[in-house]
Symmetry: D2
Subunit: 244 residues, 4 copies
C-alpha cells in the first residue's frame, strides 16, 4: 500500500517501500500509520499520510506531461461531472485525467480511457492501482480516431494531437446534453477543433484559457510568485443538444 510522506519543507514523496531515501536522511515507514510523525536518520521530521487523488496525480510515475489541476478542475466544474456519470477519455497518457474522473463518478459511473501506446498504458494501469480506482476505469489499447465504442456518455475529454479527427465519434457517443471538452496547447488546434465541432452538429461552443497565479504570503510581504508557468493549453467545450 502506498503512503504519502511529507518532509518539513513541504516536499512530498509517494512510496510503497519500507524505507524512504531522501536528501534529509533515511526514513523508516514500515508499520507506521497515517497521521504518524517519523524522524529520519538525520533527525528531520516526516509526516506519514494516506495519499489523496491529488497527491497521487502529483507524485505518480509519468512519461507524459499531465493535465494540471487548474485545467482538470475547470473541466470538472464546467461540465458538472459527478457521481454516476460515464466519461470517455483519450489519450490516457499517464492516467491523470482518468483518475480525476473516476474519483468523482464512482461507484456507479465509469471511465473509458483510450491509449495507443502500450508503454503509456502500462504506467497508467499501475497509477490506477495506486489510486485504488482500477475497478472504475476501463483502459482500451485502441486508436480513438477510428471510433468510440461507448454510447450515452456524459463527457468526452480529448487530450490528443488531432482531436478534430475524433469529433464525429464523440458526437455519436454522447447523450443529449452531454459535453465534449478538448484540451489543446496551440491556437491553430483550437480553430480546427471549433470548425469540426460546428460541422458535426455540436452547439454551445466556447473556448477558455485558465491561468493560475500563486500568491506568496511571506514575512517580507505579499506578492504574486515572480516566476512560473504561463500557459498549458486552451480548453474548448461544446454540447450535443439533440437526438439526431
Amino acid at each position: 500500500m502506498y503512503k504519502l510522506i511529507i518532509d518539513e519543507r513541504g516536499k512530498k514523496y509517494l512510496t510503497s517501500k519500507n524505507v524512504l531515501q531522501t536528501d534529509l536522511g533515511k526514513v523508516y515507514v514500515k508499520d507506521k500509520e497515517f497521521g504518524d510523525i517519523v524522524f529520519s536518520s538525520t533527525g528531520k521530521k516526516f509526516y506519514i499520510l494516506k495519499p489523496r487523488i491529488s497527491d497521487i496525480c502529483e507524485k505518480m510515475e509519468r512519461k507524459t506531461s499531465i493535465i494540471l489541476r487548474k485545467d482538470i478542475g475547470y473541466v470538472l466544474a464546467y461540465t458538472g461531472i459527478g457521481s454516476g456519470d460515464v466519461v470517455v477519455d483519450a489519450g490516457t497518457g499517464s492516467g491523470s485525467a482518468a483518475i480525476y474522473f473516476a474519483n468523482v463518478v464512482k461507484p456507479k459511473g465509469r471511465v473509458y480511457t483510450y491509449e495507443i501506446r502500450e508503454d503509456f498504458a502500462k504506467i497508467a494501469e499501475k497509477n490506477f492501482e495506486i489510486a485504488n480506482l482500477k475497478d472504475y476505469i476501463t483502459l482500451k489499447l485502441k486508436n480513438i480516431y477510428y471510433g468510440i465504442d461507448e454510447e450515452d456518455v456524459d463527457l468526452v475529454f480529448f487530450d490528443l494531437p488531432e482531436p478534430w479527427v475524433a469529433i464525429p465519434h464523440a458526437y455519436k457517443a454522447l447523450k443529449v446534453g452531454g459535453f465534449i471538452a478538448v484540451y489543446t496547447p496551440y491556437i491553430e488546434q483550437v480553430k480546427k477543433t471549433v470548425v469540426a465541432l460546428e460541422k458535426y452538429g455540436f452547439k454551445m461552443i466556447k473556448t477558455y484559457e485558465i491561468i493560475e497565479r500563486e500568491i506568496e504570503v511571506k514575512k517580507e510581504g505579499i506578492r504574486p510568485k515572480t516566476k512560473g508557468l504561463l500557459h498549458t493549453a486552451y480548453i474548448t467545450f461544446a454540447r450535443r443538444l439533440t437526438k439526431m
Copy 2:
C-alpha cells in the same frame, strides 16, 4: 421536474412550468422529453434538456454572488475531493458550492453546510431539491464561528467574511491529511487567514488566484474576449498533517 431549455442564441432557461415566456415567444414544454426540439410561438427553435449540475448552479435562484466554476473547479482538483468524502461548507449562500461537492461525494459521502441567514437557507434548500441532491446535504442553521459538529472531515470550505475565526474549529474537524480551502476576495483576508492557519497548526499553506480568459473564435478572427471579469477571490489551501 425542472427542465433546461436553450434557445438558438445559446441562452439558457431553467423551469418546472409548462409554458416558458421568453423574448423569442412562448415555449410549450409540457410533455416534452429531453432531447426534443420545440418551436416557440414566434417560430424560434428551443432545445429541451435534462439540466446538469453546472446548468443548475448557473440558472438557479440566488440572493448572493455564487462561486464561479473556475474557483470551485480548482478546489475540487486541488483537494481531490470525490466519491465518499465528507465536506463541511460555510456559508451556504445560495448553495452552489454545496451542490458541486454533493455531486461528487454522493452516494456515500456527505456535505454539511452552515448558514446563519434563514432567507439564504430557504433558497439553498430549494436549489438542493432542484439539483436532486437533498439526500446528501445537511443544511445547518448555525453560526460556524461557534464550532463545527462534524469530525473526520476530508475538506472544510469557507466562503465567509472572517474565516480566521472558524479556523481552529476546522482543524479539529478535519481528518489527518484533510484540506481546508478558504475563499476570500481581499488580500487582507488572505493575510489574516494565513496567520490563523499557521497559528492553529495547519501546514502546506498556499494561496492562489485563478483567472479565466474566454477565447472568442469568430469569423473575424480569434482573440481573447475584450471585456469581462478580472477578479473574484483568492483561494488559500492548507492541510492538517498530524493527529494532534
Copy 3:
C-alpha cells in the same frame, strides 16, 4: 487654449471654453490659472490644470478606438524611441499614437502619420493642435499600402487591418537597427504579420500581449478590480539588421 479640469470624483474634462457644463453644476474657468481651484454653481470643487499629453489622449475627440497607454508605453520602451528619432505611423486614426511619439521625439525628431480617411485626418489634426505638437507631425492623406516616402526611419508603427501589405515598404523605410511594431487585435493577423516579416528580411521577431490589472486600494480591502478590459491587441516587433 485648452484646460484640463478635474472634479472631486476624479472625472476629467478637457475644454477651451469659458464655462464648463457638468452634472455637478456650471464651472466658470475663464481667467483661471493652472493650479487654481474653482467652485461650481452647486458648490463642488474643481481643479484647473495644464493638460499633459496623457490627459489629452484620454479626453480628446475621437471616432476610432485609440491605443491604450499599456500598449503605446510598451512600444515606447521596447523600441527605446526618444529625442531626435524619426517615426512613421499608420493609420493615424484619432492621432493618439502620433501624439505620444511626437511628445518624445521633439524638437529635432519627426513623426510622419498616414491616414486614408479625411474625416479621421481632420480630427487628428485638431488633436495635434490641442497637444501643441503640430510642428513635429506630418499628416499624409495617403494609403501606406502603396508605399512609404520616408527613409532612415527609427520606428514604423502599424495599426492597420492588413499590416502585412505594407511590411516590405517598412523594411525599405527603416534604418539599420530600426524597429517595426505591429498592433493587431486578432491572432490570425499576428500569424500573417510574422510570415510577412520573415519573408521581407526582418529579424528578431517577437509578439507580446500586455495586460493591465488595476488594483483597488479601498477601506474594505485591497483587490484587483473585478470587471474591465481583458484584451486590446497583440504587438509584434521586428528589426532591420542589415543594409540590404
Copy 4:
C-alpha cells in the same frame, strides 16, 4: 564607442572592444560599421548595430534588478513624460529608469537621480556614458528620504524600499499637475504608499500591475510562452492638483 552585436540566434552583445569572445567563436568588430555583417572564427554570422537605449538597458552592467520595459513603458505613457520635462528618480540603481527618462526629455529636459550607494552610482554613471546621456542626467549621492532639492518637477519616480518616507518631499518638488509613480514589489508597500499619498495631499491615486505575455509563433503552432516571469511590481500613480 559601444557596438551592439547580434548573433544568428538573436542573442545580443554590447561591447567597446575590438574582439568579441562568444560560444560561436571570436568576432573581429574593429573598423566595422553599423549595418555590417561579420563572420566569426567558426563561420557564424553576426550583425553589427548602433545600440538603441532599449538595447543598452538590456545588456549594460548592473548590480541590481532593473525595471522592465513593460513597467517603465507604462510609466512613460501614463504620465505622458516627454521632451523638455524634468524628472526626479530614486534610487538610481543601475540607471535604467534614468536612461529611459533622459532619452525622452532631452535636450531641454533633465533627470535628477538619487542614490546612496557609491558602487551603484559608479555603475550608473558608466551606463549613462554608454547611452550617451550623461549631459542630461544629474546623479546625486544623496538620501532622498531627507529631501528633494528640485522644484517644478513633472514626474517623481520612486523605486525605493520605503517610498512613503519621501512622499512629502515629492509633493513639494512637483509642479501642479505633475505625477508621482511608485514602483513596489509587495502589496503591503502599496498600502503604505497609498496611505501616505492621501495624507500628504496627493489626488487621483491609482495602482496597476502590468503583465507581459510573450506569444510564440512557431512552425508547431501559436501559443503563449509556457514559462517565464509572472510578477515584477505594482506601480502606484498620483498627482499634485493644487499650489498648496
